[in-house]
C-alpha cells in the first residue's frame, strides 16, 4: 500500500501540472480547449485506481486525465489526442474524451453520460467468464448517475454477481446544475440498497479512505461476490470546461475551496510514506515530464485528415 499511495500522489501531482499546462495551451489557442479539468478530483481518482491490479480494467469519465496517467498511459499520447497530433491513442476520432490504452486496461469512455455503465456490465460479464479474477471499475459523475442505465447496470450486475465497481465522483455539480436540484437523495450510494449490494460513501479528499473502500470492493468483486457502489464526495475546483466563467456557482471562488492535494501530501508525510523533501522532487519531476511531453507533441505532425474515414469497420 505504501508504494501504491506514493504513486497515487505522484500521479495526482503529475495530472494537476499536466492539466494546468493543457488549460494554459487551450486558453492560448495552441490546442483545442476540450478538457474537462479534473482539478480537485485527482486525489480521489488516483487513490481509487491504486487499488486495481495491472490486469484490471477501467472505464472512466470526462473529468480530467488522472485516470489514464494512473494507469500508465504516456502523457505524450494523451496530449497528442488533445492536439490531434500523431502519437495519440484514437487517431483523431475521440480526442481527450476517448483516450484508449488497452494494454494498460484503459478501455475508453462513452460520450453520452451513463452510456459507460451498461458497457461496463458487459466488460464485467466477459471478465467473469474468463475466470481470471479480473475486475472492472467504472468512474462516473453524480450527474451521470441519474441516467436510467445506472439502474439497469446495477440491477443486472447484482443479479449476475459481476466483478464490477461502480465509482461515483460526486462533486455536487453537473455543469451548472447543483446535485440537490437533480437528485432526490443526499447520498447516491444509498441507492445501492435497492440493488442488494454494498453502497459506500467516502470522503474523496481522503486518499486513504478512498483506497480502503476501493480495496474492499475489489476484493469482493474478485471473490465473485458481485458489484459495489462507491460514492466519493469530491470538489470540482475548476469550471466544467476550460474557460467556464461559472457565474452560476456561489462557491466559484477557488481560494475558498479546499484543494485535497496538499492534504494528501501531509497525510503521506504523517504516515511516513513520504519525506517532506520528496514533495519538491515529485513536483520538479512532474513538471519536467510535462515539459518533455509538450515538446514531443509540439514537434509531432498533425494527423492526416484521411484518417477521418478510417477505423469504423474492422
Amino acid at each position: 500500500m505504501t508504494q501504491l499511495l506514493r504513486d497515487a500522489y505522484r500521479y495526482a501531482v503529475l495530472s494537476r501540472k499536466f492539466e494546468d499546462r493543457i488549460i494554459h495551451m487551450g486558453m492560448a489557442g495552441e490546442i483545442p480547449p476540450t478538457l474537462h479539468p479534473g482539478a480537485g478530483h485527482e486525489v480521489c481518482q488516483t487513490a481509487a485506481l491504486a487499488a486495481l491490479g495491472p490486469d484490471d480494467k477501467v472505464l472512466y469519465s470526462h473529468r480530467g486525465v488522472a485516470y489514464m496517467i494512473a494507469r500508465g498511459t504516456p502523457l505524450t499520447a494523451i496530449l497528442a489526442d488533445i492536439a490531434n497530433k500523431e502519437g495519440g491513442t484514437n487517431r483523431g476520432k475521440g480526442g481527450v474524451m476517448h483516450v484508449v490504452d488497452v494494454p494498460h486496461g484503459v478501455l475508453g469512455e462513452s460520450g453520452t453520460l451513463g452510456g459507460g455503465l451498461v458497457v461496463c456490465a458487459g466488460v464485467a460479464m466477459a471478465l467473469k467468464r474468463f475466470g481470471k479474477g479480473q475486475v472492472v471499475a467504472h468512474f462516473f459523475g453524480d450527474g451521470g448517475s441519474n441516467r436510467g442505465t445506472f439502474h439497469e447496470s446495477l440491477n443486472f450486475s447484482a443479479v449476475q454477481r459481476l466483478p464490477a465497481i461502480f465509482f461515483c465522483e460526486n462533486n455536487g455539480w453537473a455543469v451548472s446544475v447543483p446535485t440537490s436540484e437533480s437528485t432526490s437523495v443526499p447520498d447516491i450510494a444509498s441507492r445501492a440498497h435497492g440493488y442488494g449490494i454494498p453502497g459506500v460513501v467516502v470522503d474523496g479528499n481522503d486518499a486513504f479512505a478512498v483506497f480502503d473502500a476501493m480495496t474492499t470492493a475489489v476484493a469482493r468483486a474478485r471473490n465473485g461476490d458481485g458489484p459495489t457502489l462507491i460514492e466519493a464526495k469530491v470538489v470540482r475546483l475548476a469550471g466544467h470546461y476550460i474557460g467556464d466563467p461559472q457565474l452560476y456557482r456561489p462557491d466559484r471562488d477557488l481560494a475558498a475551496q479546499k484543494d485535497p492535494l496538499p492534504g494528501f501530501a501531509e497525510a503521506l508525510i504523517e504516515a511516513g510514506i513520504l519525506e517532506r523533501a520528496d514533495l519538491e522532487t515529485i513536483d520538479a519531476e512532474a513538471q519536467a515530464e510535462v515539459e518533455r511531453a509538450v515538446a514531443v507533441v509540439a514537434a509531432a505532425p498533425l494527423l492526416d485528415p484521411a484518417l477521418a474515414l478510417q477505423d469504423l469497420y474492422a
Binding site: N84, K93, S110, T112, G143, V177, L303, A308
Partner: protein, 321 residues
C-alpha cells in the same frame, strides 16, 4: 428590422410565447443558464415552476413532455445535444411520434424538443445532424431553421402547433446574425424559401450547409452559373413542390447536407424528383453529404468529411459548368 443572433432569436421566441401562453414551460439540462446561450435569463423571468433544470435523464425529459402535453401544457424540452434523440430513442420515436396515433387521436401533443445539432470539435456523439432519422419517422414534425428570422418564427410556430416538433438548432449558427421582422410573426411549417434565384441548377441546403452553398453560389455566378438555392426550412412537412418546380426550370439538382450520405435527406429528394420531375431532369441529381462515417473530434477531420464551400463549388461546376 433588428439585427440579432440566432441564439437571441430563439430566446425572443421563447419569451414571446411564454408571455402569450402560460401553458408553455421550458426544461432540460442547464436551461437555467443555457449552455448555448438560447435560454439564459428565462428562469429569472418566469420562475422555477415554468423554467427548470432537469437531471441527466433524457428519456425522462422527452417522455415527460409527452405526458405534460397530453394534459394540456405546451412543454418545450431541451436535449443538450441533438445526438441524444437516441438516448431518448423510445420517447422520441415511439412515445412522441406514436402516442397520439396509438390512442386513436384522443388528445393532442403540443410539445417541442429543441436539439442543438452539428458543429465541429465535439466528437462523434455530440456533432451529428440527425434530421434524416426524424424525417423518416411518422408523427414527428421537423424544423431546421437557417436564419435568426426563421429560428424565431419557426420556434414560435412550433410551440403553437398541436403536434410534436423536433426542432434542430445548428450549433454553428447560434452566433450568426441576421435581421428579424419587427413585431409579431410566425413562419409556417412546410413552406420552403428560395434563398437565391437562378436557372442553371437547383441547390437544396439548410442550416450551416446553406451558408456554404450561398457562398459557393456567388462564386458560381461569377463564372456565369446562376444557381437557384432552396432552403426547405422544415423537413416534415416537406415542401416538395418548391423543389420540383425549381428543377422543372433548371433541369439539374444538387443536395448538400451535413447528415450521413446513405439515406440522407438527399435520397428522399432524389426519389421525389424521380417521381415528379423525371422528364425535366437533364442530368442526374447529385448528393454532397458526410461519407457514412461518424464525425470525428479533430476539427480538421470534420472539414474532410463535411461538404465545404470549395467542394460545393467544384461539384456544381462539374455538373452544370
Amino acid at each position: 428590422m433588428a439585427v440579432i443572433t440566432y441564439s437571441q432569436a430563439i430566446n425572443q421566441a421563447l419569451v414571446e410565447e411564454m408571455e402569450r401562453d402560460d401553458r408553455v414551460i421550458l426544461y432540460g439540462e442547464d436551461v437555467a443558464i443555457g449552455i448555448f446561450g438560447a435560454t439564459g435569463g428565462l428562469r429569472e423571468r418566469y420562475g422555477g415552476d415554468r423554467v427548470f433544470n432537469t437531471p441527466i435523464s433524457e428519456p425522462l425529459i422527452v417522455g415527460s413532455a409527452v405526458g405534460a402535453a397530453m394534459m394540456g401544457l405546451r412543454p418545450v424540452a431541451e436535449l443538450q445535444f441533438a445526438d441524444f434523440i437516441f438516448t431518448a430513442g423510445d420517447e422520441v420515436f415511439l412515445k412522441a411520434g406514436m402516442w397520439r396515433f396509438m390512442h386513436g387521436g384522443a388528445y393532442t401533443l403540443p410539445l417541442v424538443v429543441r436539439a442543438p445539432s452539428g458543429g465541429a470539435g465535439f466528437g462523434p456523439e455530440h456533432s451529428a445532424c440527425p434530421e434524416a432519422y426524424i424525417m423518416h419517422s411518422p408523427g414527428l414534425l421537423c424544423a431546421v431553421p437557417s436564419t435568426p428570422a426563421d429560428a424565431k418564427g419557426l420556434l414560435k410556430q412550433a410551440i403553437r402547433l398541436d403536434n410534436p416538433v423536433i426542432f434542430f438548432e445548428h450549433k454553428s449558427l447560434y452566433g450568426t446574425r441576421g435581421e428579424v421582422p419587427d413585431g409579431e410573426y410566425v413562419v409556417p411549417f412546410g413552406k420552403a424559401v428560395v434563398r437565391r434565384e437562378g436557372d442553371a441548377v437547383t441547390i437544396v441546403a439548410w442550416q450551416n450547409m446553406l451558408r456554404r452553398v450561398l457562398a459557393a453560389a456567388d462564386r458560381l455566378a461569377a463564372d456565369g452559373i446562376e444557381a437557384e438555392v432552396i432552403d426547405p426550412r422544415t423537413l416534415n412537412p416537406f415542401d416538395r413542390e418548391t423543389i420540383i418546380e425549381s428543377v422543372k426550370k433548371t433541369g439539374a439538382c444538387v443536395v448538400v447536407e451535413e447528415g450521413y450520405r446513405t439515406l440522407g435527406v438527399g435520397a428522399e429528394i432524389a426519389a421525389t424528383l424521380m417521381e415528379h420531375a423525371f422528364p425535366y431532369l437533364d442530368k442526374p441529381m447529385r448528393r454532397l453529404a458526410i461519407p457514412d462515417v461518424p464525425i470525428a473530434t479533430a476539427r480538421h477531420f470534420v472539414d474532410r468529411i463535411v461538404p465545404t464551400e470549395d467542394e460545393i463549388y467544384r461539384e456544381v461546376k462539374a455538373l452544370v459548368g
